[in-house]
């Protein structure tokens, strides 16, 4: 039985090479107003993988999902232009959006995956603005599905998925049964550009709207951000003349 649909879960992040990110004056977070946002690069890789699997006829349908304010629909449209079939926008805005963290997102994705009977949920391994690297794993845990994280190669083999994972020690190959959750790492693929015809076709594809309440998800955060600070300014270094001086200074410092 070939898998029916794959969910690709997208994250909207601050533009990857924006030169200056500022901390808000009240230290409650980072200034996001007026800063350009775009699809998280790892999520682009996830979309590409899902579309590739569809092109190889392993799956029938790719659904792009994202949680957040209206801005997020642009990201879903980009995913549609890359080849996803339809989108789902889970509306979260205002205070709920500011407090939204990996656990709440994972709950939403898990509820959706169950509701729509997805066979595979693919996410980017982490969002480049918060670098949490938790959503995929939490989603799998909530669904009690196997997970193949940091995937650098994905092959579907009947009812199972072979995943080559990038880990600290090198590469690990695992075989997990579907339904499963995968998270995409950098070297999984190179995302395609959307073509002009696909961008135009994407206009006609449907994006469904819903709220977390519709899925019975409680958005209350268990985490409270106390304070956000800039990294300390780098202090000037000290030049020493000899190795003995260096050792003496390190000892005096308490470093050795």
């Amino acid at each position: 039985m070939s898998p029916a649909s794959v969910f690709v879960c997208l994250s909207l992040t601050l533009l990857s090479d924006y030169p200056v990110i500022r901390v808000k004056p009240d230290n409650s977070g980072v200034v996001t107003d007026g800063v350009k946002h775009s699809m998280n690069p790892f999520c682009e890789i996830a979309v590409e993988e899902a579309v590739k699997l569809k092109e190889k006829k392993f799956i029938k349908e790719v659904v792009a999902v994202s949680c957040g304010p209206t801005q997020v629909t642009e990201t879903i449209r980009t995913a549609l232009a890359m080849g996803c079939d339809r989108g789902i926008h889970v509306e979260v805005s205002g205070k709920d959006y500011e407090a939204m963290g990996p656990l709440q997102i994972a709950k939403i994705f898990a509820a959706l995956a169950k509701k729509e009977e997805a066979s595979l949920v693919i996410l980017g391994k982490q969002a480049i603005d918060d670098d949490c690297n938790q959503t995929g794993q939490m989603t799998a845990a909530l669904l009690d599905w196997p997970q193949g994280t940091f995937a650098s190669e994905v092959t579907i083999d009947g009812e199972k998925v072979k995943v080559v994972r990038e880990i600290d020690g090198g590469l690990e190959t695992i075989k997990i049964s579907m339904p499963a959750v995968l998270t995409a790492d950098l070297r999984l693929n190179t995302p395609r550009y959307a073509t002009l015809p696909n961008i135009m076709k994407a206009k006609k594809k449907k994006i469904a709207n819903m709220k977390p309440a519709d899925l019975g998800v409680d958005m209350v955060s268990r985490v409270e951000v106390l304070r956000v600070d800039e990294p300390p300014t780098r202090l000037a270094g000290v030049k020493v003349e000899t190795v003995d001086d260096l050792v003496a200074k390190l000892k005096a410092n308490g470093t050795i």
Binding site: S16, V35, K36, E74, T78, Y193, T195, L196
Partner: protein, 418 residues
Amino acid sequence: MAMGTLSRVVRLSSCIGRSRRLIFNSTQRRGIASCIDPAHGLSDEQKEFQKMAFDFAAHEMSPHMAEWDEKEIFPVETMRKAAQLGFGGIYVQPEVGGSGLSRLDTSVIFEALSTGCVSTTAYISIHNMCNWMIDTFGNTEQREKFCPELCTMDKFASYCLTEPGSGSDAASLLTTAKLEGDHYILNGSKAFISGGGDTDVYIVMCRTGGKGPKGISCVVVEKDTPGLSFGKKEKKVGWNSQPTRAVILEDCHVPVTNRLGQEGQGFNIAMRGLNGGRINIASCSLGAAHACVQLARDHLLVRKQFGEALSNNQFLQFKLAEMATKLVASRLLLREAAVALQESRSDAVSLCSMAKLFVTDECFNICNQALQMHGGYGYLKDYAVQQFVRDIRVHQILEGTNEVMRMIIARSLLSESG
């Protein structure tokens, strides 16, 4: 933090690994100052096209811009990649492989692509114009024969109107086409042909009838037709990623079935093509100016003299403000002209001429001023700003000199009754 220096170092040592998303050297992806953001006023769909074109320019063109210029490389593979995204026939009908977009969509796309390489984008726009001519004025057989391969850029096109003896006075062209049976015999030469010698399909304006514009027809000459040859590759100040050669026709036999439209319709086809061509070339200037304003801004923030960053200097602040203002004014005029052309408004021709005149002049000044702001570094080929200046200088000359643009506008003003 020396962001400017970092970007320069990265620029010199081409792409860092596979992580193309995490590359810092792109002028396009920097925090775009909101007041000059080219996305303002566009529809969601147009913003998607634009984003995609900016991405393509940043990753596929910008890293190679300097090399293509220095080594005079015609980047066939990159252009074919662009064609796969639909850039080979942007305003050509979908049934023959085009993308069927509007003139405004096209302008937005060329503006974005130019930030990656003006010269290559300008060639792509010429190719698009030729493709459109066949699509619009050709019959079914001609459209089906030529357009699909031009849309995929399996074949490349060149536009041949100018001759050694007729530039601005285009209607006085001398290349003859004598009808003999089912062939025209072409004799003459064309000058300054972009892509000449390396392209496959040549749209040639030639004289089938008497003097003046009414005697001119338009024929498609294919590469390797006996009698078709080329002059030496010209050495140019800019536009070096496209070869420019004279096209020589000596008893070149072209089948009558290759004529686009009617005999005597050639000049009309040329003028209609040039309206769009003017918008396209102005779009290329606009993209270059946009990139240069950002480069200048970044440089002012980084470079210190007299104990502080140049961005604290009021003269430079004012200069930058003027550049940004002219940039936005240019963009607005150009996009309005594109809309007018799309809707075939009565003021379309004048507006296209005004846009070409204003935009190419102002954008050259912007790029030139940006070079000045870089000081001595602006003169080095390590810095992109000089290439933008060199590449867009010719936009004030071709597609109808800016002097001819004034002629067209004056004629429109002075001939109006009442």
